[in-house]
Symmetry: C7
Subunit: 75 residues, 7 copies
Amino acid sequence: MTQPERPFDLLNKALQHNVLIRLKGGASIRGKLTAFDIHMNLVIQDAEELDDGTVKAKVGTMLLRGGNILYISPA
Amino acid sequence: MTQPERPFDLLNKALQHNVLIRLKGGASIRGKLTAFDIHMNLVIQDAEELDDGTVKAKVGTMLLRGGNILYISPA
Amino acid sequence: MTQPERPFDLLNKALQHNVLIRLKGGASIRGKLTAFDIHMNLVIQDAEELDDGTVKAKVGTMLLRGGNILYISPA
Amino acid sequence: MTQPERPFDLLNKALQHNVLIRLKGGASIRGKLTAFDIHMNLVIQDAEELDDGTVKAKVGTMLLRGGNILYISPA
Amino acid sequence: MTQPERPFDLLNKALQHNVLIRLKGGASIRGKLTAFDIHMNLVIQDAEELDDGTVKAKVGTMLLRGGNILYISPA
Amino acid sequence: MTQPERPFDLLNKALQHNVLIRLKGGASIRGKLTAFDIHMNLVIQDAEELDDGTVKAKVGTMLLRGGNILYISPA
Amino acid sequence: MTQPERPFDLLNKALQHNVLIRLKGGASIRGKLTAFDIHMNLVIQDAEELDDGTVKAKVGTMLLRGGNILYISPA
């Protein structure tokens, strides 16, 4: 049995690794996940904002509010 | 009596099977359901984003926030 | 006194019968109600998506999130 | 003192009478109020959907989710 | 010290008096406030719907859901 | 240490002084803050509605719902 | 182990330093973070509103409601 049993197990396994975060409005954030909480608020290091796959801005470290997230995918 | 008695029974039965998820904005996600919680946050493996029935992106594994979902249908 | 005393009594009486569900965005779902919970999450069997009264897609069984619903009407 | 002291007293007095419900999007529902709960979920019998004052559809009985309501007015 | 100490004191003082209610969408409601609760659900008597300052409809008595309100002002 | 330690300390210090309130939709309210609660519902006296910096309407006293606010700034 | 373990640790470390706040609508706020609470309500001093990277307005001190925030990034 290798599948996670609860959705937040995926975040635990993704800690210190790169993730792609798709936002509700269509834009994306890419970077290293270093912290999260039960609201899915995330800390992302070396974060890049993407629009249609191209880098729009390099942000450094950010605290991203969970309510804006559509999905999170380990890179 | 073969019908589920509570909506989440449908998710339990769909675990490890393919599902189609229709999102509020009109797009869809297709893939294998491997985890869910009471907020309907889902883990989807081999996930594909669909727009009008055509595959737009292959995402691998994703944690999808329940608040974005219109409906979930076992494939 | 034949009227239901609480709104959810209507859902209890509609179990195993066809219902029409009008969504917030204007589209509709039609099918057999087989389960519901206090959030008005519904399981619909033989579900059809309707747009302006014409069938747009046949979905089979779906778990529909209550937050998207405008109203539910027994067929 | 004939005024209701709490807003829900108005719904109690309106039970079994016709009401006009104005929705957030601008459309309206007209019919007989037969049940309500603390979320302002309503059961309406002989319900009609109105758009700019003209009847768009006759729906029969409906369970209307309170979150969509702008106001309720006894007819 | 004549100012109210809590926002709801303003509603208490406005009971049985005319108020102007500005809604989120830009429209307004004018009439006599006769009841309110902690969600700012209001009962308004002799209510008028206004658009850009002109009366669009006379509604009689209404139960207005608090979630739609931008502000309430004693007339 | 002269900075407030919690955000609501700023409201306490602003009581009986003029504030500028920026709303989510882009409009603003200017006036004297005389009361607030934990939802950031505010009572504003001598309130003016502003659009792009010009006064659109003088409202007198208003109870402004906190959910509509983007930020509050002491004048 | 230098990474924060919980997202709010990032806010604690950013206190008294400059931050860039990206809002849901696309605009940004830049200034010194001097207070925050569990809702991510923030007090920002020497705050500037930015649109596409150019300063649109200097606001002084503001209490910014957390619900409007997309992300917060230490400058």
